[in-house]
Structures are given as C-alpha cells and as structure tokens.
C-alpha cells in the first residue's frame, strides 16, 4: 500500500445499516466533518447524522410550477385574445375556463422537470467518474454493503490516526484507502 500517493479518503465497510449509523455518530463525535456514507438503499436518519438537514428542492419545484402555470395561461391568452382573436362559435376571446386544462398540464410539466433537474443538479450528477470507484470493494455499495468514507480534505484527517479510528469501529469489511 503506497504511503505517499495522494488519496481521496479512507473507506470503512459495514454489513448492517445500524453499524454504519453508529459509526457515523462516533466519527462526528470524534470531530470528523468531511465524510459521507454510502448505502445500497436509503437509510433513514443517515443524512441527518451526517449533519445534512434541509434541501432546497421543494423551493425549486415551486418556482418551476409557478412559471409553468403563468406561462401556460399567458400563452393561450396572448394567442386567443391579443395575436389573432377569432370568433369561435361566438365564445368570448378570453375563454378562460377552456384554458384551464392546458395551464394545469404545463404547471405539472414544469414542476416535474425542475424536480428532476434540481435533484440531479444539487447532487452534482451526472458524475460517471468518482475516486470512490477506484476502491474495488466499493462496487458492493450497490449490493449489500454499507460504507463510511472520511475524506482526506477533512482538517483532522491523518492517514494513520484516521485509519486507526476507523478500524476501532470494527468494520466487518475492514478499512481501505481510496486513491485520488
């Protein structure tokens, strides 16, 4: 194991979500901040334990919805009243009740798009390359293993002590380095 090459962080592999949560708690207690946990399925409270609480996503979706709604209605109003008003079955030019369905659909469409794009954006996806993938064990994060990674960027990070600290958490899969 190369002792000098720059590394991304140290990776501890657990078999049960509870063990992982427990490890995260202790890591934070030990003062580690720049770290992340990786699981094959969403584990409740894990994010909170990592100190992540609120996401901006709902706001983004709301904005998207409002834009879709207003834009949708205005599009129809402009076309039917301002640009080319036509007498259609002697309905009023501004037949707003008839404009509701399209307005609604566009609201949903914009909101949904902003939800998806927002989520990807905030998560920094797509990111096909990531140092973690260098760790051969990490592939199991999408199967049945639970990982905790303390990143070298953390100010307390020190190869030896951090490795020692992690192994004290008794990760069943052991501790490994993640090359940069």
């Amino acid at each position: 194991m190369n002792k000098t090459a720059p590394i991304y962080g140290l990776l501890a592999e657990f078999e049960q979500p509870e063990e992982l949560i427990n490890a995260v708690r202790r890591a934070r207690a030990a003062g580690y901040r720049k770290m992340d946990a990786y699981t094959p399925f969403p584990v409740e409270h894990l994010a909170e334990e990592l100190g992540f609480h609120r996401t901006a996503l709902p706001v983004i979706v709301l904005i998207g919805g409002v834009i879709g709604c207003a834009g949708g209605f205005f599009l129809q109003y402009w076309i039917s009243v301002l640009d080319y008003p036509l007498n259609v079955g002697s309905r009023p030019f501004n037949s707003w009740p008839s404009f509701i369905p399209v307005t609604f659909e566009l609201t949903i469409l914009c909101a949904a798009l902003s939800a998806v794009l927002g989520m990807l954006g905030l998560n920094g996806l797509p990111m096909p390359y990531h140092p973690l993938f260098n760790s051969p064990r990490f592939a199991l994060a999408s199967r049945n293993r639970f990982f905790l990674c303390i990143e070298s960027g953390d100010k307390q990070f020190n190869r030896e002590t951090t490795a020692k600290f992690l192994s004290e958490l008794k990760p069943k899969g052991g501790v490994s380095q993640v090359e940069e």
Binding site: E15, Q16, P17, E18, D36, A37, Y38, T39, P40, F41, P42, V43, L46, A47, L50, F52, T55, L57, P58, V61, Q76, I79, S80, D83, Y84, L86, V88, G89, R91, S95, S98, F99, P101, V102, F104, E105, I108, L109, A111, A112, L113, A115, V116, G118, M119, L120, L122, N123, L125, P126, M127, P128, H130, L132, A139, L140, A141, S142, R143, N144
Partner: protein, 445 residues
C-alpha cells in the same frame, strides 16, 4: 398461503442477485424469444397498416358520416386507460406508504409508458392529413395562426405529452440506483459502459439518497393529480360535445375509475405469467394479487355506478335525444355490444367478491382479461352508438370496422408486447433497491 409481501429468507444479496440475474444472464429464455417474436411480427403488421393508411387515406377505415370517429379513438382511450395503473400504483401508493407497491411499480410504470406510446399513435393516425399533426402545437408559423385552445383535442395533446414525459422521468429516476447496481455487476464491458452512462455515476451517498427521496416524493405528488387530469381531459373529448351519450358531467370521474380498473387488470394480466416464468413468486406474492383484485373490484363498482347514473340521467333529464340514445343502446343495432359490455365488464368481475376467486391465480387472470375486453367494449359503445344515431334521423347510419381497423389495433398490441419484452430483458423489472428496504433487519447477511 403467504400474506407476506416478500418471501422469507431473503437478504440484500439474494434480492440483488436474483433480480439482476434476469437481466445480466447471458442466455435468453425461449419463452422470451417466442413472446418477443410474436410482438415483432405484429409490429410489422402495424407498419404495413400505417403505410397503406398514409398512401390511401383515412377512407380505408370504416369511419363515415355520421360515425366520423371509429376504432382509432376507441383504441386511443383504451390504451390511455391502461396507461393509468403504472403511475397510479407508483405515485398514489407511494404517498399512501403502501409497501406492497414496491415489487410491481417498476413494470407497472414501464407498462404505462408503452401503453401511452401506443395510445399516442392513434390521434395522429386518425387525422385526415396526419403530416400536419404538428399544427396542434403552438409554434410561430409563417401562417401567423395558432392552435385553437378551446378544443379538447388540443388539451389532449398537452395532457398526453405531459403525462408521457412525467411518467418517463418518474420511471427513470426510480431506475437510477438499480442501473448503478447493474453497472457494478455487469460482466461485459459494454454492459457496464451503457449502464454506467445511464446510472449517471450514482454511488448511493446518504446525502444523494436524501435529495433523491425528496424528489421522488415530489414527483409522486405531482403525478397523482396528473393521472387524474389526463383521463379527465380524455373524457372531455366526449363530454364537451353536444351529442346525446357524450354530453354528460359524469364522464370525468367514471373515465378515471375505468382507467384505473383496466390499468390494474392489465398489470394483473402481465404480472401473473411473468412471476410464473421468472419464478418471482417471492416478490410478487398472493398478497399483491389480492390487493390488486380488491382495487379492481372497487373501481369496477364505480364504473358500474357510472353506467347506472348515465341511464338515470337520461330518464331524469326528460331529454328526448338522451332517452332515445339509451333505448338505442339497449335495443338498437349495437345492442349486442352493449349487453356484452354489461356482462363482461360488470357482471363477471363480481366474482372478485369471493376469496376463493381472489386466491386463485388462474381465475384472477381470466377476470383480468375479461375486464380489459370489457373496457374496450365500453369505449366502443360510447363512441359508436352515440354517433350512429344522433339528432336528424335522415343522417342516421351504421359503422362497420374494416380489416385495416383491426390490423392497426392488433398491431399496437404487438408494439406494446415488443417494448415490454425488451424492457424485461434489459432492465430490472422489479425495483431492486426498494425491495432491499423490505428485508427484515435481522437477515442482513
């Protein structure tokens, strides 16, 4: 019989391996080849029909004046209806925190996409000049003229395309973690590259999971009213008109109910053989089938109530055209279709009241088939009987479907099958990561 929603003895690993193996295994089962082959042949039939249609014109179908809408619209509504179960199961059941949804939502969503794709064909094909279909989209043309937003057909364009887009997003978002699994487990280089691209570098970070679940929840919240709106808009195609038998306010609710009805029936029709073929009884358990049967029973009753109210109103309104329309459905030239509808769509599904039927896979399968046929008949009765005898007796006339009507319809069934088989072969038909959450904690590894 098991009341579990997942067979006992499963661990994260077994679930993962079991489901992903269906996709990653090298050899293709013969059953798959046969099924896909059938679908493919029918797709060819569809292509021939469409080509001939474009060359000759809409006249090759049975439509005429007064019956200017025929199979095309019947099939459109039918497919759209089927396309409702998917998003509904995922979205609404997610919001209701129904754990049992997690083994069926994936292919229910896929089914939605394919059904909507089939449905989307018909409004275009049935145009007199399909190559001008894009005139229904508002774009700055050199003609300086725009779509006419009072027309339900324009609403359709927006509703159906929105529905397709949102369903696609919902489905894809759901797929991302599983794509990551496949990426990490695929043995072939190409497999890993392709799945890798699609997985967008998902690595299961806790923070990502957090936002992911939020987004998924929001999508579900948006999709739920959308599902309801889509079939409401479709029902407006009829309800907005002035025709006896179409012009009625009860259409939106009972169209939506009908859609869910046929949607669940179709899920059933697909789920039962698939779980048998791929041995997924542990994931799609009797509990699932029974729950779906109950939903079908409930929605079926709403549909029945819809029929009842239609007839009640035509009597209560004392509207001579409405009354004639009802009598004409009962005793007119298309009465056989009507009574067949009542039998297949209302009477037969009542069998679901009995536990013995609900717990018998074969019976469930047959009932589900019946419901799909019945719902098609419902649309046929609505479209044809209302049109063929409306206001002026002098213009009354009959409608007879032609070979090309049938070939186009059957062709789209083929398209649906072909797409579905491709999906089963190349993507996990059951959501792996959501199944993992069902594993009792003790059985970790």
């Amino acid at each position: 019989m098991s009341q579990e929603i997942i067979g006992s003895g499963h661990t994260y690993a077994t679930i993962t391996d079991k489901i992903s193996s269906i996709v990653l295994t090298r050899k293709t089962p013969h059953g798959w080849l046969f099924g896909f082959g059938v679908g493919f042949v029918l797709v060819m039939l569809l292509l021939v029909s469409i080509t001939y249609l474009f060359v000759e014109g809409i006249g090759i179908w049975g439509v005429n004046i007064p019956v200017a809408w025929g199979f095309a619209i019947v099939n459109f509504v039918w497919w759209i209806g089927i396309g409702h179960a998917g998003t509904l199961i995922s979205a609404i059941l997610l919001l209701l925190r129904q754990g049992w949804r997690q083994s069926i939502n994936r292919f229910a969503e896929a089914m939605t996409l394919f059904a909507v794709a089939c449905a989307g064909l018909f409004p275009v094909l049935h145009l007199g000049r399909p190559w001008f279909a894009y005139w229904l989209i508002p774009y700055p043309s050199t003609m300086g003229i725009w779509p006419q937003f009072r027309s339900p057909l324009v609403w359709d364009v927006f509703a159906v395309s929105t529905y397709f887009t949102v369903s696609l997003l919902f489905w894809f978002i759901g797929l991302i973690p599983d794509l990551a699994t496949l990426r990490d487990r695929s043995s072939s280089r190409t497999g890993r590259v392709v799945y890798g691209i699609l997985a967008m570098g998902w690595r299961g970070s806790a923070i990502h999971w957090h936002r992911y679940e939020m987004a998924y929840l929001l999508l579900a919240g948006l999709a739920t009213p959308l599902v309801v709106s889509v079939h409401t808009v479709v029902s407006f195609d009829f309800a907005i008109s002035i025709l006896p038998g179409w012009h009625t306010t009860i259409f939106p609710p009972y169209f939506v109910a009908g859609a869910i009805y046929s949607g669940f029936a179709m899920v059933m029709v697909l789920a039962i053989p698939i779980r048998a073929v791929y041995g997924l009884e542990d994931f799609i358990t009797m509990r699932h089938l029974q729950n779906m049967a109950k939903v079908m029973l409930a929605t079926g009753l709403i549909v029945a109530y819809g029929y009842l109210m239609e007839h009640f109103m035509s009597w209560y309104s004392a509207e001579k055209y409405e009354r004639f329309m009802t009598l004409n459905r009962w005793g007119g030239p298309y009465a056989p279709a009507y009574w067949a509808l009542i039998l297949i769509n209302i009477v037969i599904p009542q069998a679901l009241w009995f536990r013995r039927v609900r717990s018998n896979v074969i019976m469930l399968f047959l009932v589900a088939i019946a419901v799909n046929v019945g719902m098609w008949l419902e649309r046929f009765v609505i479209v044809i009987t209302s049109l063929h005898r409306d206001f002026l007796p002098s213009s009354w006339n009959m409608y007879y479907p032609t070979f090309w009507d049938w070939s186009t319809f059957i062709g789209t069934i083929g398209l649906f099958l072909a797409l579905l088989f491709l999906f089963i072969r190349f993507l996990p038909m059951i959501s792996i990561f959501e199944m993992r959450t069902l594993v009792p904690r003790s059985e970790g590894d």
